[in-house]
Structures are given as structure tokens and as C-alpha cells.
Amino acid sequence: MCLGVPGKIIEIFERDGLQMGVVDFGGVTKEACLAYVPQAKVGDYTLIHVGFALNIIDEQEALETLSLLREIDVLGEELGVELPGEE
């Protein structure tokens, strides 16, 4: 719940008056709310907590953390999905 998952914003749109985005978490894409990072642009990396972006982070940081979360088998749990090929 508190770890957060980094991902890349690949699309930004508005729904119900909220700034939303499509975020790519190393192959798994999900929607996330971007209301708390109004400065976010397509291509930015962000740290997502329970479907909400809370800050913008740099790419290297994002890729490293994603790889760690995969390694410790919590990526699927944090994203609420079954990951294909996760051991």
C-alpha cells in the first residue's frame, strides 16, 4: 500500500473533471489519476499509489524500482493484476 509503483505516462485525458492518465508499468498499462501532479506531461515517469500519481520521478529511478518490485514479487499485488510470467 505504501510502496508505490513507478510507471510512464503514455496518455493524458480528462474524465469527470479529473485529470487522468494511462500509465505503462513495464508492459502492464493502467489508468491513474493525475490530479495531484498537475505539471505531468506525456513521457514523464511517476510514482503511483493506489491509482493516484503523487510525484514525478526520473526515468532511471522508475526503471530501477520497477525491476525491484518485480524481483520481490509485489508488482502484481501493488497493481491488482496477475502478471504473466511472474515467478
Partner: protein, 368 residues
């Protein structure tokens, strides 16, 4: 694919550990608040790499672990009602209540669903207008921005069949309670990095002044942990007590101001019972009276509930850092991740689960 990382670089960790060793001159007790940090420490065997003078004790920063039993029993009672879709983060489903858990309610026919984001509940509510959608809003400051926004959006969108069972907790009052305890041993804290991403560091200044303890904002990865511990030890050895940020790349002193504004609009501080730990004044958030219509406790009168904890479970002592999980007589015997007696054995942020998962089955002399 593996990314060789600056933050996990073994060489960097080794240099930092050496620096820690050469800085330490006497025994110190440091608490890491966050359960995610506990898992990282135990997973990497980090505590065993530190000089023997340093003791890391594990804190209460596991949201599902401290959710009070009364609220879990209330959740079970609401989830069992026929017109309800009960939603929660996945961690919560196996947390034992007095008699059962949410999984059991589901197997008995209750409509219990795991959601990824609280905004998913609003979609569920729109798609199921004849049902009541209830969300179990647990967590520390990291989930509060999301949960507060879901309530705000429910109002904006005029969604009436959505409510929340709120059990939010806050870190600073817990630190205050731990340090105020007469048998406190903790001399410094590693503050939870992502909590501070939301709240910043300003909330910790009064604690540093009141108790004269160093509080160092720390991340999760080995290099982050080593950095946080080194800066803590430097303060302790120098007799300094300051709020320091060792996680600068993700935390700014003000935190995420937009998120704090929405939290403050929807929630207000309240007293809260912490499971196993006890009553802590002003340590929770509840819905403000203006948002009472979304309060599941108001909407569903489930009455007085008598709660009963397992007499074997020592989770309270574990959550206060007074007992290591493997010092509990039930650990690994009556209590395992398959047959948990207490929440810390269930959660991916629970200390007991960390010890079990990473093979710390016997209490060690080094930890005595």
C-alpha cells in the same frame, strides 16, 4: 531485464556500511516505522550487516495490522449484507476478525471485491445502482489522497450508493505515543519515505523538539536504507536531534500540497484505536461532518460488536517494537501465513510475514 542500479549498487551499500561502522561508538536503538522498510531490511539481511551496537526495531507502519478489530468486525458484518458490494485493497481480505475474515464472508456468498483504486468503486456504484458499494478505506498518509478524492468525486458526480468505512491512521501521533511510553527504548526514527512524499517533513519538527530524537526520512532500497541509517547514527553520535531528509529525490519539505488540501477538505483528525497498540489521541482521520452521508458507519447500523483477539497472538508487542516476530511462542507454529493469528502475519507490510517469508524462523542471539 535487470537494471543495474545506483540505488541498489552493492559497492555503494558496502561503502555506506563501512562508514556506519566507523561512526558508531556505542549502542543505539533505531525504529523503522514503515512495514515496507521492514520487509526490505529483512529480505536483504540488512540488520545482520550492521555493527552489533545498532539495533533496528520494527514499527507499527503496517496499515492492515493496526486497523482495529472492531472495524474489521464491522466490515465483515456490512460485507455479509445481501445488497452490498464490499470493496477493499487486496491485503485486507485475509486479516482475521474475531471469528472470520473477508475471504470467508465471500465464500459464504458475500459480494466482496478487491479494487486497485478507490475510484474503481465509483464506477462499480454507477454500474450497480440497485446495490450499496462500500469501500474499506484503510491506510496511512499514502492512501489518504486517493480515498479523499474518491469521496469528493462521489459528491461531485451525485453518486448516492457509495460509502466508506474509514480507518485512516497517521504516523506523527504514533511516534509521539511510542516515545511517551514509560518503557520506550527508541532513540531515533527512520521516517517512512512515501508518507513524507505526501505530507512533507514539517509535521515531524515538533516531535524532534519535544523528545530530542533524530528523525530521518528514508527510502526503501538498500542504498536508501544505508543512507538513512548513516545520517541517523551521525546525529545520535553528535548528540544532535533534527529532522533530516535522506530521500531528497522523492520528498520535499512541503510534501504534495494539492493532496494535503483534498485530505483536509474531506477528512479531519480523530482519536483512533490501533490494533495491538492501543488508543492514540488524534492519530486517525475520519470523514468531516460535511461528508457524513458517505460514512458507512452511519449508513449501516451494525450495532455493538463484541471483539475477541486470539489469546496466543503477540502482535501488539511486535507492532511496538518490543518483541521480534520470531520471539513469539506461536510464530511459525500455530501462526503461519496460511493460518494467521494476527494481521502482521498476513500483510505484505507485516513484520511477522517478513520474518516467515525470509526464513527468520528462530530467534537469534544477536537480536536478544
Amino acid at each position: 531485464m535487470k537494471y543495474l542500479t545506483e540505488y541498489r549498487d552493492a559497492e555503494k551499500v558496502a561503502v555506506l556500511l563501512e562508514e556506519i561502522r566507523s561512526t558508531v561508538t556505542r549502542p543505539w536503538v533505531i525504529m523503522e516505522i514503515c512495514g515496507g522498510q521492514t520487509h526490505s531490511i529483512i529480505r536483504h539481511g540488512f540488520d545482520r550487516l550492521l555493527p552489533p551496537e545498532l539495533e533496528l526495531v520494527h514499527g507499527p507502519g503496517c496499515p492492515v495490522c493496526v486497523t482495529p478489530l472492531e472495524l474489521i468486525d464491522r466490515a465483515l458484518a456490512i460485507a455479509a449484507q445481501p445488497n452490498v458490494i464490499f470493496t477493499s485493497f487486496g491485503d485486507m481480505l485475509r486479516v482475521p476478525g474475531s471469528e472470520k475474515d473477508l475471504f470467508q464472508v465471500k465464500s459464504e456468498g458475500g459480494d466482496v471485491r478487491v479494487v486497485y483504486s478507490p475510484l474503481d468503486c465509483l464506477k462499480l456504484a454507477r454500474e450497480n445502482p440497485d446495490k450499496e458499494v462500500v469501500f474499506f478505506a484503510v491506510g496511512f498518509e499514502t492512501t489518504a489522497p486517493a480515498n479523499a478524492m474518491a469521496v469528493q468525486q462521489a459528491r461531485r458526480q451525485g453518486i448516492q450508493n457509495f460509502s466508506m468505512l474509514v480507518s485512516h491512521v497517521r504516523v506523527p501521533p504514533a511516534i509521539d505515543a511510542l516515545l511517551s511510553s514509560p518503557d520506550n527504548r527508541i532513540q531515533a526514527f527512520l521516517a517512512a519515505g512515501h508518507v513524507c512524499t505526501v505530507m512533507g517533513t514539517w509535521e515531524y519538527q515538533p516531535l524532534v523538539e519535544k523528545f530530542h530524537v533524530p528523525i530521518v526520512v528514508t527510502g526503501f532500497e538498500p542504498v536508501d536504507l544505508a543512507r538513512g541509517i548513516l545520517r541517523t547514527v551521525r546525529q545520535l553520535e553528535a548528540g544532535r536531534a533534527e529532522i533530516e531528509n535522506a530521500y531528497e529525490r522523492l520528498v520535499i519539505p512541503t510534501g504534495n500540497v494539492a493532496a494535503q488540501a483534498v485530505i483536509n477538505e474531506v477528512f479531519e483528525p480523530c482519536d483512533r484505536q490501533w490494533r495491538g497498540v492501543g488508543f492514540i489521541p488524534q492519530s486517525g482521520w475520519r470523514l468531516r461532518p460535511e461528508y457524513a452521508e458517505f460514512d458507512a458507519e452511519v449508513r449501516f447500523a451494525v450495532g455493538d460488536i463484541e471483539v475477541e483477539e486470539s489469546p496466543l497472538c503477540q502482535a501488539g508487542l511486535v507492532l511496538q517494537g518490543r518483541l521480534k516476530p520470531n520471539q513469539c511462542p506461536a510464530f511459525g507454529k500455530q501462526c503461519t501465513p496460511r493460518t494467521p493469528l494476527g494481521a502482521p502475519m498476513v500483510s505484505s507490510e507485516g513484520a511477522c510475514a517478513a520474518y516467515y517469508q525470509f526464513g527468520r524462523l528462530e530467534a537469534e542471539a544477536i537480536e536478544a
